[in-house]
C-alpha cells in the first residue's frame, strides 16, 4: 500500500535541520551517500537560530591556561558527574576543531586584538571559552551550516513532520511523515536515520522554546524501541523576560551576565552572594570588586556568583520571589546598565556586545537596557535528557537509529553549561553523520512493512473522523503545560509529581478524542493534534524519572529530598517501552571512568 504515499529513498535520512541535523547531513553527504533532510519549519528557522551567547570550545585564545581537560572537568562538574564521560571527553577534545571548521565555511566570529576568535565568559566555565558573534551566535552558526549545506547535494524536504519511524526486525529503515502545505503523506526509506529534533520545551507553560519543541524525536525513538535517559533533567534558564505578559519566557542571554550584568532583588541587594554551593566556593568571587574584575578579564579573579550554574541561579531567584523580595511582576532585576560606573561609553559597549538584547527589550518591553534594569525570571529552556546513545558513534539502542544535539542524552548529565549545546551540535552532529553513513553502507538491505505506514496514516487521519465538541488540540496542550509547569517544574515533590502523572493519563484520553476541523492543507489544529502524543510521552517520561530520583541534583530539585545523595550518583535512569506498551524505568550503572579522566577531574577540583 506504500504506493499511495509519495516515496523517496535515501541512504541516510536526517530528521531535523538545526545545527545538529545540518552538521550530520553535511558529514554524511561528504562520504558520498545520498542524504535526505526533513524539518518541520522552513530551513534556517530551527531553534539553533535563536541561540545567543556563544559556542563553548577550549581554544585558549583569551586565556591560554584553558585546554580540553579543563573544559572536560567543567562539563562533568556542571553535570554532577552522571554525564556520559566519553561524550564529555570527545566534546571537549573536538569542539575547537569544529568551530574552526565553521570559520572555514564562512562564519565570522568576534575577534581578539591579535585577530583570533574571541571568547567570552559564561556560567560554569572556568575560563573565557565561548566563541560568539555579539549575541546572535546561533544565527551565524545555522546560516553558515545552511549556506554550506545547500551546496553538498543534500535533498531538503522543508515543512515536513515525521510521525513514525519504520523498522524492520528491530533495525530502523525509514520514516513516515506529512507535509504541512497539503497534508500529503510521505515515506522516506533510509538505511540509517539520524534524529536531530531538539527539545521538549512546549511541555511547559513558560518557555523559551517554539511550537516545534514537542519532543517528537524522543517519542518517535521511544516508540521504535530506543531507550531514553536522564529525562528528569530539564534546564530552567534563570533569565527569561517576564513583562509584558505576552513576552513571558523569551530568553535573555546569559551573555548579559558574562558581560558584567548583575542580579538584584527589590532591595537593591546582590543576593547571589548569599549562598554559594560548596563545590564552587573556591572558584567564586566573595566580593563585588573581584566579580567585576573577573568579567573584565583579570586572570587572578574568580567569577561572580551570577555566573554559577543555571540550576542554582534559577532556584536563588525563586527564593527571592517567594520570600517577598521580588520585582513588581514576579521576578528579580538583571542590571547591565550599572557597568557605566566602571567603563566610559557603557551604552555603546552594551549595544555592541548585546545588540539583540537591546533591540528585544526596547521593542517588546519599551525598556532601554543601557539605562534601566531588566525584570527577569526563570523559563523552561533545555532538556538534558534524551535518546540514550553510544558516545563514539551516537547510535541509539536501535540499530541504524542515531541521535545528536538536544534530543540525545549524556553529554550534559544533570545540568548543561551554557554554550555547551552549540558545541554539542557540531561535535556530535559530525560524529552521527559519519557513523550513520557507515552504517548505511554496511546495512543496505531491508524491507519496508507497508502496514506500519498504513497504521501511521490511519492514526494521523483519525482526528478528522471525530465529531466530539470537547477540548480541542490547543486546549489539551495548554492543560498539559499547566500541569507540567505547576507540578514538574523547578521545585518538585513526590505528591505533585504523582498528581501530574494522573493528569497526564487523563489528558492522554482527551488527546485520543480530539477532533479537528477543516482540511489537511496547512492546518495548525490538525498539526497540533498530531504533536500531542509526543508531548504526552515525554511528559510522562519526565515525571516518572523525577519520581524515581529521590534526591536533588543539577536541574532536578526535590523539596522533599533537598540534598544530593551519593547513592544516586552512580547510575542513570533509563526508560524503554515494555512489551505491554507501558513505560519501563530502570537504573543503568555508569561505567567506570578511565584513570586518566579521573586524574583530570581531581586536578581541576
Amino acid at each position: 500500500m506504500t504506493g499511495e504515499y509519495e516515496t523517496v529513498e535515501h541512504d541516510v535520512l536526517v530528521i531535523g535541520a538545526g545545527g545538529a541535523g545540518l552538521r550530520a547531513a553535511i558529514e554524511a553527504a561528504s562520504t558520498g551517500v545520498r542524504v535526505g533532510l526533513v524539518c518541520k519549519s522552513l530551513l534556517g528557522k530551527a531553534h539553533t537560530v535563536m541561540a545567543e551567547g556563544g559556542v563553548a570550545a577550549a581554544m585558549g585564545n583569551v586565556d591560554d591556561r584553558d585546554d580540553w581537560k579543563v573544559h572536560f572537568a567543567d562539563t562533568m562538574r556542571g553535570g554532577q558527574y552522571i554525564n556520559n564521560w566519553r561524550m564529555a571527553e570527545l566534546h571537549a577534545r573536538e569542539a575547537g576543531a569544529r568551530v574552526n571548521e565553521l570559520e572555514a565555511w564562512g562564519a565570522l566570529f568576534d575577534r581578539t586584538p591579535d585577530g583570533r576568535i574571541l571568547q567570552r565568559n559564561f556560567g560554569g566555565h572556568k575560563y573565557p571559552r565561548l566563541a560568539h558573534v555579539g549575541d546572535r551566535t546561533g544565527l551565524e552558526m545555522i546560516r553558515t551550516l545552511q549556506d554550506h549545506g545547500i551546496h553538498q547535494g543534500i535533498d531538503i524536504h522543508m515543512e515536513v513532520t515525521i510521525v513514525a519511524l519504520l523498522t524492520d526486525g528491530g533495525r530502523v529503515c525509514g520514516a513516515f511523515g506529512y507535509d504541512r502545505e497539503r497534508g500529503r503523506f510521505h515515506v522516506y526509506k533510509a538505511a540509517a536515520v539520524v534524529m536531530a529534533t531538539g527539545g521538549i520545551g512546549r511541555a511547559f507553560k513558560i518557555t523559551s522554546n517554539s511550537w516545534e519543541y514537542t519532543g517528537d524525536g524522543h517519542a518517535l525513538a521511544y516508540d521504535a524501541g530506543a531507550a531514553l535517559q536522564d529525562m528528569e533533567f530539564v534546564q530552567f534558564h534563570p533569565t527569561g523576560m517576564i513583562w509584558p505578559p505576552s513576552v513571558r519566557g523569551i530568553l535573555v542571554t546569559e551573555g548579559v551576565r558574562g558581560e558584567g550584568g548583575i542580579l538584584k532583588n527589590n532591595q537593591g541587594k546582590r543576593f547571589m552572594f548569599d549562598n554559594i554551593p560548596d563545590n564552587y566556593k573556591s572558584s567564586t568571587a566573595d566580593n563585588l570588586e573581584e566579580g567585576w574584575k573577573y568579567v573584565t578579564g583579570d586572570k587572578n579573579s574568580r567569577r561572580p556568583p551570577e555566573l554559577l550554574t543555571r540550576d542554582h541561579v534559577a532556584r536563588m531567584i525563586m527564593r527571592e520571589v517567594k520570600e517577598g523580595r521580588g520585582s513588581p511582576h514576579g521576578g528579580v532585576f538583571l542590571d547591565i546598565a550599572w557597568i557605566k560606573e566602571h567603563i566610559p561609553n557603557a551604552a555603546e559597549h552594551i549595544k555592541r556586545k548585546l545588540p539583540s538584547m537591546y533591540h528585544q527589550f526596547m521593542q517588546l518591553a519599551g525598556i532601554d537596557i543601557t539605562k534601566e534594569a531588566m525584570e527577569i525570571g526563570p523559563t523552561t529552556h533545555y532538556v538534558m535528557g534524551g535518546i540514550r546513545v553510544d558516545g563514539d558513534t551516537q547510535m541509539s539502542t536501535v540499530p541504524g537509529l542515531f541521535a545528536c544535539g538536544e534530543v540525545a542524552a549524556g553529554l550534559h548529565g544533570a545540568n548543561r553549561l551554557g554554550g555547551n549545546s552549540l558545541s554539542d551540535l557540531i561535535v556530535f552532529g559530525q560524529r552521527a553523520g559519519e557513523h550513520a553513513a557507515k552504517f548505511a553502507k554496511a546495512n543496505k538491505k531491508y524491507t519496508i512493512d507497508p502496514a506500519q505506514a498504513d497504521n501511521a496514516a490511519r492514526a494521523a487521519l483519525a482526528p478528522f473522523d471525530r465529531t466530539t465538541t470537547a477540548d480541542g488540540p490547543f486546549q489539551v496542550q495548554e492543560a498539559l503545560q499547566e500541569t507540567m509547569h505547576a507540578n514538574v517544574g523547578i521545585v518538585r515533590n513526590d505528591a505533585d509529581l504523582r498528581s501530574a502523572l494522573a493528569t497526564i493519563n487523563t489528558l492522554r484520553e482527551k488527546a485520543a478524542n480530539v477532533a479537528v476541523r477543516g482540511n489537511r492543507n496547512y492546518n495548525p489544529g490538525w498539526n497540533t493534534a498530531l504533536d500531542l502524543p509526543s508531548l504526552l510521552t515525554v511528559s510522562e517520561a519526565l515525571t516518572r524519572a523525577a519520581i524515581a530520583r529521590e534526591e536533588s541534583r543539577g536541574g532536578h530539585f526535590r523539596e522533599d529530598k533537598p540534598d544530593k545523595d551519593p547513592a544516586f550518583g552512580t547510575f542513570n535512569f533509563v526508560i524503554t517501552k515494555g512489551a505491554d506498551g507501558e513505560m519501563q524505568l530502570k537504573r543503568e550503572q555508569i561505567p567506570e571512568m578511565p584513570a586518566n579522566l579521573k586524574a583530570i577531574i581531581e586536578e581541576n577540583k
Binding site: S41, L42, N100, I117, M158, P244, P328, G489, P524
Partner: protein, 262 residues
Amino acid sequence: MDASSALPTENTREQTFRLWRGERDEGEFQDFKATVTDGMVVLDVVLQIQAEQANDLACRWNCKAGKCGSCSAEVNGKPKLMCMTRLDQLPANEPVTVEPMRAFPHVKDLVTDVSWNFEQKMKVAKFQPRAPDAPDGTWRMQQADVDRVQEFRKCIECFLCQDVCHVLRDHHKHDEFIGPRFITYVAALEMHPLDTADRIPALKEEHGVGFCNITKCCTEVCPEHIQITDNAIIPLKERVVDQFYDPVGKLVKIFSRRSTNT
C-alpha cells in the same frame, strides 16, 4: 517561576482583527473579535484566535522574538514581523488587518510559498576562503574587518524586503532579479575578509542588479535595520560599474576633472 498569580492586571479591551482567509487564489478578509492588552504583539492575537476561534488558521512562527524571520506578513498594509509589532503601535479603535506577503504565491491564510527565495540563494557562488593564515589552518582577522560585513549577516531571511520591492511585487521579475535579500547576501560574501570569489559578473547578468532603481523601500521595512540600499546595493552597483564600464568611467572622471580645472 510562579509568582504570576499576584501580578497586576493590564488594561484589556476588545479589538477587531481582519485576517486574510482562504487558499491559493481564493480568499477574503474575515473579522475576528479578540480581547487584547497593550503589551501584546500581533502574533499573540493571531495565535489566540487560532487556539480559540479558528484552529485551522494558517500562519508561520517560531521564535516570537524577531530572530527567526518566520512570521512575516502585511499588517495594516505594511510588511512586518507579526511578533515584533506591538498593538500599542497601531490605532486602537480601528480593525487591524493582517494579510500574507503579496509578492509570493499564496498557500493558505497568512502563509505564502517562499521557496523561490531558497532557489535564488543556490544561484549565488558559495564562499571561497583564501588559504589559511596560520599553520594550524586558522585565519587572522581584525574586528574592524569583521564588523564591516556583520550588518549583512544579521539578516534573518524574513523576506520582507523581497515582498516590498516593486521589481518583484509589481513587475514580477522573479526570473531576472534576485531581489534585495540576495544582493545583501552577495554583499556579505563579496566583503567577507576571507572570500576570494568574484560574483560581480553574475550580479550584473543573472542576478539583475540593474533592475534596482534605489527606491530604498527594502531598507525601510528591514526589521534588522540593515542599510540594504546604501551599504549593500549601491557599493555593489559601483563595483559593477568599475568592472564593466571602467573605460567610460575613467573618461568621465577625466572630463569632469578638466572641466573643474578650467
